[in-house]
């Protein structure tokens, strides 16, 4: 390396820069790496550069012993036509287009199958190295959202006479600000719980708020960021 470099290291080539995906080849590598191009029983075995000799005869041995139909992919060699298993008779470019469409769909892009600028940007975003998989919307995992979210409905005071709805605003507990956790009490004087006269002392000095008087400045601060708030 250079004996002396700039104070801010600006001239030090950052060798650890991820290879930007710019063309079909790198895009194909990306798609195969993250599971969009489905190798069949594809073993991705990578070896140290130094023992390349080891690679060759080892791969030959391995190739002989493996059953027909699997392929050994050397991670750094450019994929040769024979290296990719055909997806049920698709040509490689058809398989590429199919895989590209699937990636575009999962990324919320128009599934054009064209390696366009938007797709390039999506491929170069920071991402997790685990191959992709879309969760099946029919799986039970997401059904619960619908069932339990309609379990509740806000307390409706369907009594039109003098309902006392006690407005909601900031709620303080443990000196931690939890505005969005505040509920307001809708207490109607219907027969349900006979509270009619119970709130006089409070009503005297409690203004009646419309039952929809919700404090709009809800600040979503959770217990995690305890904010020492004195009363």
């Amino acid at each position: 390396e250079k004996l002396f470099h700039n104070r801010d290291h600006s001239d030090v080539l950052n060798s650890h820069q991820a290879e930007v995906i710019t063309d079909k080849y790198t895009a194909e590598l990306f798609l195969s790496r993250y599971g969009f191009i489905k190798p069949v029983n594809w073993e991705e075995i990578q070896f140290e550069d130094s023992d390349s000799s080891f690679n060759d005869d080892f791969l030959d041995d391995l190739q002989d012993t493996l059953q027909e139909g699997t392929s050994v992919h050397r991670s750094r060699d450019a994929p040769q036509d024979g290296d990719h298993d055909d997806h049920s008779g698709l040509t490689e470019s058809q398989a590429f287009i199919l895989a590209l469409k699937e990636f575009q769909t999962m990324s919320g892009l128009p599934a054009t199958g064209v390696f366009d600028e938007a797709t390039k940007v999506a491929m170069n975003k920071p991402r997790c190295g685990v191959p992709d998989k879309e969760i099946d919307p029919d799986s039970g995992a997401l059904d619960a959202e619908n069932s339990s979210s309609d379990t509740f409905n806000e307390t409706e005071s369907n009594n039109t006479t003098s309902d006392y709805s006690l407005g909601s605003a900031e709620s303080f507990k443990d000196d931690i600000f939890n505005v969005n956790d505040t509920e307001s009490i809708l207490i109607s004087n219907d027969t349900s719980m006979n509270y009619t006269d119970l709130f006089d002392p409070i009503l005297n000095n409690t203004s009646l708020n419309s039952s929809h008087d919700v404090n709009s400045q809800s600040v979503n601060i959770s217990a995690r960021q305890s904010v020492a708030v004195r009363r």
Binding site: C128, G129, V130, D132, S139, T151
Partner: protein, 424 residues
């Protein structure tokens, strides 16, 4: 040997087949994790790295029945989840990292999580770089068995979304992990709505409530509107309820009538009165009583310890539950109501024959959100028939108990965290 090892490693470390919609990766509930010594990041202090991972595990614990404990002593093979940083070819992993940009981390079938230290990882809410907390939560999700989830707001999306302040687990991820490991079940010591008067900016006095669930030394604020607990809960009892017993209480009662507005906590043979204004127990209350006091002194005729209790404004009585008996205490007359104690079954008969908690009730809770009384026992609850129910269906018995339901299907995500994670 070397050849077979290479084959073995590549096979055993195969990335999990993500074609399923996730699967339960662990059968046990308490999992050990460690930031491995040869895998420290060069960008954050070790303590910061461990704190962020502790928080990431706690966030999964808050929404699932799993608990996580950092284990820096056991042999590495006994540690369930091992985290480490590396660049390029790293930590014996056969998936090399690509440098700054693109791939920032990956997770392996057997519980290894690797972070690409060429990325600019930063602490939570630092506004720049890649939030190590978000990436860690994502990768832990994989190790627990979750695949990528393509829904806005999910932390399991494959691409990194720039930091937004106050990142939390959204509904999708909560349901996805509970789909694998089930909901959070467990008995509660008490549940109640805490009520107080507040002044609005316009000087009006309004009344507010928040719902709390207490279990042993922890408690949760339950956000009824969002069907979940408050982010960051549970919290240690003494953090939020100063002066009540730190290891938990038996009951909470709020006596609220024309003349009184008093909040009590009960534990064993004693009880405390809570000072809402100053957010702590009274040492000496406005009537001159010193606390703690004996239950037998404050509520003559009631035998302690009690299982639980609640105040019923309809008849101005506190109902104390003990074993199979219930004691109605008339607050105005300051004595037991006539004919009490009675068997719980006689006062709260079951609507469906045989569907009754019998005795040893964990919590009796009047909910303003539902305008109803609930009796909780174990993982079940029974709703008490209210006047409105009887108005619609006169054949229902007064204070009858409707058929039981599961607590975790009515109040969601009330999950424990490991005791070592209660105070991060």
């Amino acid at each position: 040997r070397k050849r077979h090892l290479a084959t073995l490693v590549s096979k055993s470390r195969h990335k999990r087949d993500l074609s399923e919609s996730g699967y339960m990766a662990f059968s046990k509930r308490v999992l050990k994790w460690r930031l491995i010594g040869e895998g420290y990041s060069s960008q954050l202090s070790i303590e910061e790295q461990r704190y962020i991972f502790r928080l990431a595990f706690r966030m999964w614990s808050e929404v699932s029945p799993l608990e996580f404990v950092e284990d820096t002593r056991s042999p590495l093979e006994d540690v369930d989840i091992r985290l480490g940083f590396g660049t390029g070819r790293h930590l014996g992993c056969n998936q090399r990292f690509d440098g700054t940009g693109q791939e920032f981390a990956h997770a392996w079938f057997l519980g290894d999580i690797h972070f690409d230290d060429d990325e600019h990882f930063t602490a939570p809410n630092s506004g720049s770089g890649i939030s190590l907390l978000k990436v860690a939560v994502h990768e832990i999700g994989h190790v627990l068995g979750l695949p990528h989830i393509y829904r806005a707001g999910s932390i399991m999306q494959p691409s990194y979304l720039p930091q937004e302040s106050g990142f939390e687990m959204d509904w999708t991820d909560r349901k996805a992990i509970q789909h694998l490991y089930g909901g959070c079940k467990g008995r509660f010591n008490t549940a109640f709505d805490w009520i107080r008067k507040e002044k609005t900016p316009y000087g009006e006095v309004v009344i507010r409530f928040n719902t709390y669930f207490m279990r042993d030394d922890s408690y949760w604020l339950y956000d009824n509107r969002n069907n979940r607990t408050r982010y960051g809960d549970p919290v240690a009892l003494q953090t939020g309820w100063r002066g009540i017993p730190m290891d938990g209480v038996d009951a909470h009662v709020h006596v609220w009538s024309r003349k009184r507005d008093a909040v009590y906590f009960f534990k064993g043979a004693q009880f405390w009165r809570y000072d809402n204004e100053n957010d702590q127990v009274f040492r000496k209350d406005p009537e001159g009583h010193r606390y703690p006091r004996f239950i037998s002194e404050g509520f003559p005729g009631v035998f302690s310890p009690i299982d639980t209790a609640f105040y019923d404004r309809r008849d101005s009585c506190i109902y104390f539950f003990k074993n199979t008996l219930v004691y109605a205490f008339d607050v105005e007359a300051n004595r037991l109501a006539r004919g009490f104690p009675k068997n719980i079954r006689d006062v709260f008969p079951s609507v469906v024959s045989g569907d009754h908690p019998d005795g040893n009730i964990d919590a009796a809770y009047f909910s303003y959100t539902h305008n109803a009384i609930f009796l909780l026992k174990g993982t079940r609850f029974w709703q008490v028939v209210g006047s409105r129910d009887r108005w619609r269906r006169p054949f229902l018995p007064r204070n009858g108990l409707l058929p039981h339901k599961e607590v975790d299907q009515h109040w969601f995500d009330i999950c424990n965290v490991h005791p070592t994670a209660l105070k991060l």
